[in-house]
């Protein structure tokens, strides 16, 4: 077996050193009835690298690759071009095969990267600080809700109708067990987000309002009034950003008064990967930092006075606080955070702004073009790179028909909200720098045919 260096004679020699005759003696604590006499029957035996590669490649070929067809899916996962150097750098063994930096003297590479990442995220979000990442956007969103409960000592969270339904679903799952009360609503096919409704819902029992920016239908709205309404009732405003590239063009949620900003960092560096691993982003104001979940990297000095970095404020975490920890989270999403950070460093502010501008321009062009298709109505009035169309037919079968023609047309609201008739004709379309005008033309033609 190519990954196992011990030779048969090594094994014999080592057993002799240990003082046992056979490997079975080392498993003596396993009760007799549970001992497997040999390899589990019915399962394949070891295979060559070539054979495994053939098997896995055959599976990979059964999927339609986003980059090989006109592609318009978003709704929490976006296809952007990732520079080649990002993947090269994260595959360096010193990053790829390192552990959590528990021995900081020999983990400064990971630690300095995390410090840079935290700073990048905080600046992008307009928050004072950010942590070293969470599992993904959906779990970061729930962690923010529980954090708001700890800070405000209140149990009612108001969730915007524009929050990603999977994020709502995760929060509902968790709230069922923690006893948190969640106010949720379904979105409607209207042009503007539900800011006014949310403002009216904030009361003295509200721990937080959770609002997605841009929202699940691609809509954007000013958060300032909502932040003021929250703060007037001593509640927190949590903003959720599932498309961080948007913040290259849009005002930062922190700048508009959000107390906690969480997000999905997948757009930068990480790729689609059928849903994971992704990277949860988590920023907040300075005064909330001790209630923040997840790992934090901080600056300090070594015994010679040289600048260095360590994991810090770890008394918030499970390995020390055990049942009193702020979260049971143990890992972060280190390698994806690295990919995010490298991509962001390559872009820089000027590049991020340019990238965001290209995305928006492409989306505006696509929205205008698709709105000319008979049976298509553009719903979203203000948007970044994603907008919602209302079709003359149920969108889900339309998406399937277009997939048969080799077009991945977008996310039907029927997929996200099964059984909701009011939303069934909705189609969310995302456009990034990877979308060409030809792609848009092909989609427009396809829609024209399928809707006629």
């Amino acid at each position: 077996m190519r990954y196992l260096p011990l030779t048969p004679s090594d094994r014999q020699e080592m057993l002799a050193t240990i003082g046992v005759p056979h490997i079975d003696a080392l498993f003596a604590d396993v009760p007799e009835h549970a001992r497997l006499p040999g390899p589990i029957e019915g399962l394949p035996l070891h295979a060559t690298e070539l054979a495994v590669e053939r098997h896995m490649t055959a599976l990979a070929r059964q999927n339609t690759v986003a980059g090989e067809v006109p592609f318009f899916l978003g709704c929490g996962a976006y296809r952007h071009h990732v520079p080649a150097s990002v993947d090269h750098l994260i595959q360096r063994g010193e990053f790829l095969t390192a552990y959590t930096p528990y021995q900081p003297e020999i983990a400064q590479g990971t630690l300095q990267m995390l410090f840079e990442f935290q700073t990048q995220v905080a600046r992008l979000f307009g928050t004072d600080v950010a942590n070293a990442s969470m599992y993904d956007g959906s779990t970061a969103c729930w962690e923010a809700i529980t954090m708001a409960r700890r800070v405000t000592r209140r149990g009612k969270a108001v969730l915007s109708a524009g929050l990603h339904p999977h994020y709502v679903s995760v929060a509902k799952t968790m709230a069922r067990f923690t006893g948190d009360q969640l106010q949720t609503a379904l979105p409607t096919l209207t042009g503007e987000p539900d800011t006014d409704t949310l403002i009216a819902q904030v009361d003295d029992d509200t721990s937080c309002v959770v609002v997605q920016y841009p929202d699940i239908l691609g809509r954007i709205g000013d958060l300032s009034a909502l932040a003021d309404a929250c703060h007037a009732k001593k509640a927190l405003l949590i903003a959720v950003v599932t498309e961080p590239v948007a913040l290259g063009a849009l005002r930062a949620p922190g700048e508009m008064g959000a107390d906690i900003v969480v997000g999905e960092g997948q757009s930068l560096g990480v790729g689609l990967q059928f849903g994971g691993p992704y990277v949860g982003l988590f920023g907040c104001s300075d005064k909330l930092v001790r209630q923040m979940p997840g790992r934090l990297c901080g600056e300090t000095v070594d015994a010679d006075g040289k600048r260095g970095f360590v994991l810090t404020l770890s008394t918030r975490e499970q390995h020390i606080r055990r049942e009193k920890a702020t979260s049971n989270i143990c890992t972060n999403s280190g390698l994806c955070a690295l990919a995010f950070s490298i991509h962001m460093t390559l872009l820089g502010e000027a590049g991020l702004r340019r990238l965001a501008g290209l995305n928006h321009a492409g989306a505006c062009h696509a929205a205008d073009r698709l709105a000319t298709v008979p049976g298509v109505e553009l719903i979203t009035s203000r948007f970044f790179n994603e907008f919602t169309l209302k079709l003359s037919k149920e969108a889900r079968p339309v998406v399937r028909q277009l997939a048969d023609r080799g077009i991945l047309a977008g996310v039907s609201l029927g997929r996200l909200y099964p059984g909701e008739a009011e939303l069934a004709n909705g189609l969310v379309v995302a456009v990034t720098e990877t979308t060409t005008p030809e792609d848009v033309a092909v989609l427009a033609d396809g829609l024209t045919e399928v809707l006629s």
């Binding site: 495994v52 590669e53 020999i106 995760v170 005002r251 055990r322 390559l346 928006h360 996200l416």
Partner: protein
């Protein structure tokens, strides 16, 4: 004759020249690297963009007007920055990484190649199901293997990491109790030696945590456990093999007693690497166990994640697992069930009793880890995985027996260990501790073992070599650790100042925590990006 006109001839330095300071702070291949905020500019970008309009016409009054403060670097500078940073890290690719309970084994590069196939890496989670049959096939095949390797009934694939899997299992227990109207069971029993995540998870799910004591032999005290069982106990969380590196020989008796008392057994599967292919946890009566794909099945740890924590479930708990969910039906078929089909599937296969507690995460879990883990599993096969456990246990016992004369090994007398060997600081002179041994090992070129965990052993040193280390590497490590341990016992003062040769010496963690500096603050504002 012509003389040596260039003047170049080799010279050997005298010993007195060693350790000279440099003007740059660099030491040859050991290069200092500033922060991107100190070397980058907001006007620089390392990415070329296509020509085209940049418009802001549908952003309304939300157009960003203030600078963000994000520095950019050109591509060559970026590659150099991160390459330099990488060289300040220890890694499994560089050497033995014996972190107990963390299972730092070799990461095969085939797994990386497979995960990057466009058919896996460039697929959107919400694509129509017909267009992602191969991706679902990977999930199904991996689920099939995990069920067979553990002898369990179902598996929840979506948890994002071990702790997330633990939460999944505990929520299954809570949902099962709720489903039978048994709401008085509020206590979760957790051994003192457990990972900190266990009590944190139980508390998060609303349970009250109570400790179970350990015996002098480092195992769960069965009598004490039995005495505590009752109508208020929801279940127990047990790590097997446990965090002292020992198999719990009475786990089946524990499971039977817990079941008889109406509770469920959660098994922390962090240490499954020790028994994969030799023991099926399902045969020990457990109800739920998470599997850290990044440990047993060698998906890379990446400096702290991403992990992946699928949870195998007993027949009793399978109905409650999260969506999306895979289960094997009587015909041997494995299904992937999302919200829409959940009810239909429940009616068809669970007599309408299927009652998933919902989603734990957006989308389908850590697909990129599934492809790597399945690649790893197929490479080893049933025979290779069994050999994995045997070699992991053999290596740990070899380390144990070759070090027990210089380091206190509190459980060595009670028999073999499993995949990790535990030592303590007993016998060290005043002022010398486990930390000094760890830092001394750094100077010897090894990553230290896990230290001060588990809490039940004073000054614990938990060594997990894993199966991917050769005997020669183990011998080098053992010799190094023997030397450092001997120095600690002799009170060698130079050890207190170790590491001497790492990129940094001991760091001031008190300063970091008292005055947290968590983000870079500009000494002067960064130049604004060109609008």
């Amino acid at each position: 004759m012509s003389v040596n006109q260039s003047g170049w001839r080799p010279e050997r330095p005298s010993a007195a020249d060693a350790g000279a300071a440099t003007a740059t702070g660099n030491r040859a291949l050991m290069l200092e690297e500033p922060l991107i905020f100190e070397i980058g500019s907001t006007r620089t970008t390392g990415v070329d963009f296509a020509d085209g309009d940049v418009r802001h016409d549908r952003l309304g009054d939300l157009t960003r007007k203030t600078p963000i403060g994000l520095p950019g670097l050109s591509e060559p500078e970026t590659v150099r920055h991160y390459t330099r940073l990488s060289r300040q890290n220890y890694a499994i690719d560089l050497g033995l990484f014996p972190l107990g309970s963390c299972t730092m084994k070799h990461n095969p590069r085939l797994n990386e190649r497979i995960a990057r196939l466009p058919g896996f890496a460039d697929v959107h989670p919400l694509q129509p199901v017909d267009t992602v049959q191969g991706a679902l096939g990977v999930i199904n095949q991996l689920a099939f293997w995990l069920i067979d390797l553990t002898g369990m009934h179902g598996v929840a694939m979506s948890p994002k990491a071990g702790a997330h899997g633990e939460l999944c299992g505990v929520l299954c227990i809570k949902a099962a109790l709720e489903a039978r109207g048994d709401t008085e069971r509020r206590v979760m029993l957790v051994p003192e030696s457990a990972h900190g995540t266990n009590p944190a998870t139980a508390a998060f799910a609303g349970f009250t945590v109570e400790d179970i004591p350990a015996t002098a032999a480092g195992r769960v005290d069965l009598a004490a456990l039995k005495a505590r069982l009752g109508p208020d106990v929801a279940g127990v969380m047990i790590t097997n093999p446990n965090t002292c590196g020992l198999f719990e020989p009475e786990l089946k008796e524990i499971s039977d007693a817990v079941h008889a008392a109406g509770g469920y057994v959660y098994c922390d599967g962090a240490n499954f690497n020790a028994i994969v292919g030799r023991v099926r946890p399902g045969d020990l009566g457990i109800d739920a166990m998470h599997i850290n794909l990044h440990k047993t099945f060698s998906t890379p740890h990446g400096g702290g994640g991403p992990g992946s924590g699928p949870v195998v479930l007993s027949e009793a708990l399978s109905p409650y697992g999260p969506l999306p969910y895979t289960a094997r039906t009587a015909d041997g078929h494995i299904h992937l069930i999302e919200e829409e089909r959940a009810q239909e599937f429940s009616d068809e296969h669970f007599g309408g009793k299927h009652d998933s507690f919902g989603r734990m995460t957006a989308f389908h879990g850590q697909m990129g880890m599934f492809t790597r883990a399945l690649t790893y599993i197929l490479s080893h096969g049933a025979d290779g995985l069994r050999q994995v456990a045997e070699d992991a246990v053999l290596n740990a016992n070899y380390v144990l027996r070759r070090l027990e004369d210089v380091l206190d090994a509190p459980f060595a007398a009670s028999g073999p260990c499993m995949h990790e060997a535990i030592f303590s600081d007993a016998g060290f002179p005043d002022g010398f501790s486990t930390l000094d041994v760890a830092k001394g090992l750094i100077d010897e070129g090894f990553h230290p073992m896990t230290i001060y965990f588990p809490l039940v052993v004073h000054g614990a040193m938990l060594v997990e070599p894993t199966e991917t280390e050769s005997k020669a590497t183990l011998d080098q490590f053992i010799d190094a650790l023997r030397s450092v341990a001997t120095r600690a016992k002799a009170g060698d003062p130079s050890l207190k100042a170790a590491p001497h040769f790492a990129p940094r010496r001991r760091l001031d963690e008190t300063l970091a925590a008292r005055k947290p500096v968590l983000v870079w603050k500009d000494k002067a504002p960064l130049a604004d990006a060109a609008e």
